[in-house]
């Protein structure tokens, strides 16, 4: 990449053109990926991208523009566009300015790995070929699709009050969809996203898939019943992120779109549950020493023994309440207005059972959920969880009875995790920055094939 952007020059230019304040967000990235289909490597991709976001204030009128940049002309046109948008905007009377406290946290999280940064297409091909080999050894199991990739990036932030701050990160991802043929047909997918390559995890994920796809192919659609639900770590992580991330955002709270509005200090979850926002976890994708407006990040308990302790703030929402930012500014894109969001979420459960088997042992009838579809359609405003179990295990009298599929679940998330919480089990595992053991609650209506 030949073009080098100087954030301070961009800010100066915006100020010369009439901005009273400006902020610049730059992401440089290089991505390598390789894809396989039907047991064979089929495609490779290489991309280099430079993204720029510029937001400006003209008095209290705000505008933002950005995009993928190729030339200095692009940069100038983006600055001009941001200013022209700001000039037509109505004033934001609550505008506190851009974040004045720019800096990095005293703890520097491990998110950049030299070895991972040095990976090229040839290495990825070799590693993926080995995974295809593992699957080939299994009878009647095929790789429908698989992908492996590395992203090496640098994020830079500066505004009229300070900076720049910058951070390099690596990101490794591997995922697959395995298919079992023959009489019992089924598929199983899994993936891993970390900020460095951990080869042993790649191999163990492939071996796990080869075992799981056999059970998935035997899954039966069953009738409706009432029972307990045990969410495996991955599905538990997904639901926690979907329901809590918007609900604890100070912006959603202030705008009246969170069921947790006005509930600071109240018992919300079971007393056994603590939820931590932790930007310093090693090799997790949510880790960073500064947030998306250059504010230092910090670790905090959002729920402590079930009690809601804090919402998450960026500089704007904190200023509205006369508070300090919690270092949780998050941007959808470099040119977007930030809003508060979690870094990594860690779910800690008191007296969590050491294994999933121990947790299941206490269940009379229920489902251990391995895979769902549609959990992202849950409703964080009303607090209703929705999911369709595409693969799970029916649990009867404390042990696994058979694989099942096609059960629809709807429940009240807060009522379930406060009044009907049964406990947790198994090791805490992290999925895309959300770390949790398996969790269980009772009183579920599983709607199935009647």
């Amino acid at each position: 990449m030949t073009l080098v952007l100087d954030p301070e020059k961009i800010i100066s230019q915006a100020e010369r053109l009439g901005a009273s304040e400006a902020e610049v967000y730059i992401v440089k990235s290089r991505e390598y990926s390789v894809k396989a289909q039907r047991d064979a490597i089929t495609e490779a991709e290489v991309h280099e991208t430079l993204k720029l976001g510029v937001r400006v204030a003209v008095s209290k009128r705000i505008g933002g523009a950005g995009g993928i940049i190729a030339t200095m002309d692009d940069v100038e046109s983006i600055i001009g566009k941001a200013i022209s948008i700001a000039k037509t905007a109505p004033p934001d009377e609550k505008w506190p300015g851009f974040n004045p406290r720019i800096g990095v946290a005293p703890v520097k999280p491990e998110i950049y790995d030299e070895t991972t940064a040095g990976i090229d297409t040839g290495f990825l091909i070799g590693l993926l070929v080995k995974q295809l080999g593992i699957v080939r050894e299994a009878e009647n199991v095929h790789v429908a699709e698989a992908g492996i990739g590395v992203d090496v990036s640098e994020t830079i932030y500066a505004n009229s009050h300070g900076g720049p701050v910058s951070e390099k990160a690596t990101l490794f991802s591997y995922g697959y969809e395995l298919k079992r043929g023959g009489e019992e047909k089924g598929t199983y997918y899994d993936y891993i996203v970390k900020t460095r390559l951990e080869e042993d995890k790649v191999y163990s994920l492939t071996r796990k898939g080869v075992e799981k796809v056999i059970d998935a192919s035997r899954a039966e659609a069953i009738g409706s019943f009432n029972g307990d639900i045990i969410l495996g770590q991955e599905e538990a992580a997904s639901i926690v992120a979907i329901m809590l991330a918007p609900a604890v955002s100070a912006e959603q709270v202030q705008k009246g779109r969170s069921p947790l509005r006005g509930k600071l200090g109240e018992d919300i979850l079971s007393r056994a549950i603590t939820v931590v926002d932790d930007p310093f976890l090693s090799w997790e994708p949510g880790s960073s020493a500064f947030d998306d407006e250059g504010h230092p990040t910090m670790k905090k308990n959002i729920f402590e023994s079930g009690v809601l302790k804090t919402y998450l703030y960026d500089y704007y929402t904190a200023s509205v309440e006369g508070k300090e930012s919690t270092g949780n500014a998050d941007r959808r894109a470099p040119w977007s207005k930030p809003s508060p969001g979690p870094t990594n979420l860690v779910v800690e459960v008191e007296d969590s059972k050491s294994s999933i088997d121990e947790l299941i042992a206490g269940i009379e009838k229920g489902v251990l959920v391995e895979r769902t579809i549609g959990s992202w359609m849950s409703n964080p405003i009303s607090g209703q969880v929705n999911m369709t179990i595409s693969f799970g295990y029916l649990v009867e009298k404390g042990s696994i009875a058979k694989p099942v599929k096609g059960l629809v679940v709807a429940d009240d998330f807060y009522e379930a995790l406060k009044d009907r919480f049964l406990g947790a089990g198994g090791q805490r595992e992290c999925f895309s920055g959300v770390c949790t053991p398996s969790i269980a609650w009772t009183g579920i209506r599983f709607a199935g094939k009647d």
């Binding site: 950005g66 040839g122 405003i381």
Partner: protein, 467 residues
């Protein structure tokens, strides 16, 4: 972009000189503008753009992609060489080799119709969004309202080493309203949107205030409504819900790349009965109310494809690679999100043909069921290999003895792909296709604009989540 096209053509020649059997490129210039009014104030007004070229090179059956945002001759040559090197590295590994179905070297230019360029309109759009947002907040019981106005211009030129040159230029505009209401039962929301392949004249000529008020009234109704009891229900789906059902329950499984990789449950079922004979499903790039896809991102003309004809699986959707594997003609469904992404098979506008039933006739034969409507629906998802799909409804209604009785919220529906279309026993005579400038369909990390729709239909026995 015309100058770039010549440089790109030379880069494709270079790929052939290096030994590639085929190369193509997608040149894209994309702009998007978003205005968000939130609780009476402008939350965000932003603009973004991207421009660049993505290359695909095939060498001895191995495929590689690379892209660049630098449009100089040197950078384009470097990008195509990078793709060639990757393809060459891949080619030494054993496995099925990629071939493309034959397609003529078409030369075509297609531009969607618009009158007023939305990117040249100033304060008027802010004023409209503000008024709509304020009116949505006036409805008693509403505690929050978001109004989004979005505009997109997406110009793509597809060039390949066989001499094909196709330009598609689309202008797209829309507005979305989401309102949250509070009652003694808690918070609930409703939402609605309308988008058209059109310019700012569409925004000017539509009564958004009435739409926003209706959304707010529905949010209030929803906040007081019950969640259904979980179980199996007869369900009447309004056209937008039929679109969601088809897209999730059948559309993805009919995508040729999933069929050829073995990831679709529809593999091997061509010519077999997969639905009630009342069901005919079409994928069409040019339909009123839908997105504009006259050519796909391989430059293949998008044909009107009868995927299911009177209950029989008639055709899979294909790009050139999956068409070759399946021994079909390419159907014009090879699409990308941006110049940086690989071509995969995607639906365009996927809909059900109307039938004969009046809506009253569809309702009158339901003893106890649900009328599922879309205002607040979030979308859907399918696991095409396991055959399970799900989709959410917006504010919906309980149907008792053929009459709509009371509102329901939190309605989520699910079923099995090969089962559900056989359970359709009434297809309405009405028809609507819709699309959205705020979202689309996600697959393999790529979001593309799609349209969906159909008439009202009745499905016997869908699983509904509840307490």
């Amino acid at each position: 972009m015309e100058n770039v096209k010549d440089l790109v053509s030379k880069a494709l020649d270079e790929a052939l000189k290096l030994g590639a059997e085929f190369a193509d490129a997608r040149i894209q210039s994309y702009e998007y503008e978003l205005i968000t009014y939130d609780n009476g104030s402008l939350r965000e007004h932003s603009y973004n753009r991207r421009a660049g070229v993505g290359f695909r090179v095939i060498y001895q059956g191995a495929v590689a992609y690379s892209s660049t945002t630098n449009l100089s001759r040197e950078a384009l040559l470097e990008a195509v060489q990078r793709a060639f090197s990757s393809a060459k590295a891949l080619s030494s590994h054993p496995g099925e080799k990629v071939k493309l179905a034959e397609y003529p070297a078409v030369k075509a230019v297609a531009r969607s119709h618009f009158v007023v360029d939305p990117f040249q309109v100033g304060e008027e759009k802010l004023e409209i969004a503000k008024v709509v947002n304020q009116e949505a907040l006036q409805v008693k019981g509403v505690v929050s309202a978001i109004t989004r106005m979005g505009f997109q211009r997406d110009k793509r030129i597809i060039v390949n080493s066989e001499g094909l040159e196709v330009t598609v230029d689309v202008v797209f505009s829309g507005l979305l309203q989401a309102s949250v209401a509070k009652s003694e039962k808690g918070l609930e929301y409703a939402s609605d949107y309308d988008s058209r392949v059109a310019g700012f004249e569409y925004i000017r000529d539509t009564d958004w205030v009435e739409m926003a008020r209706e959304v707010s009234r529905l949010a209030v109704t929803a906040s007081k409504a019950e969640v259904p009891k979980g179980g199996s229900y007869d369900v009447i789906l309004e056209p937008r819900m039929v679109g969601l059902l088809l897209h999730e329950a059948f559309g993805h499984a009919s995508e040729g790349d999933l069929v050829t990789t073995g990831a679709s449950i529809l593999e091997g079922l061509k010519g077999r009965k997969v639905a009630s004979e009342l069901v005919t499903i079409i994928d069409d790039g040019l339909v009123s109310g839908g997105y504009y896809v006259p050519y796909d991102d391989e430059g293949v003309e998008k044909k009107k494809v009868y995927v299911v004809d009177k209950g029989i699986l008639n055709n899979y959707l294909t790009d050139r690679a999956s068409a070759a594997k399946l021994g079909q003609q390419p159907t014009g469904n090879g699409r990308v999100m941006s110049f940086q992404n690989p071509v995969i098979v995607r639906q365009t506008n996927y809909y059900m043909e109307p039938g004969d039933y009046r809506i009253e006739e569809i309702l009158e034969d339901v003893d106890y069921g649900i009328y599922a409507t879309s205002k607040g629906a979030k979308g859907g998802q399918v696991d095409p290999g396991m055959g399970t799909f799900t989709f959410s409804a917006g504010v919906s209604w309980l149907v008792e003895k053929g009459k709509i009785t009371k509102p329901l919220r939190g309605v989520n529906l699910s079923g099995q792909i090969l089962d559900v279309l056989s359970k359709i026993d009434a297809v309405g005579r009405d028809f609507e296709v819709e699309t959205s400038v705020f979202g689309g369909c996600g697959k393999s990390g790529q979001l593309v604009r799609v349209g969906t729709g159909g008439p009202h239909v009745r499905v016997r026995g869908l699983s509904v989540g509840g307490r």
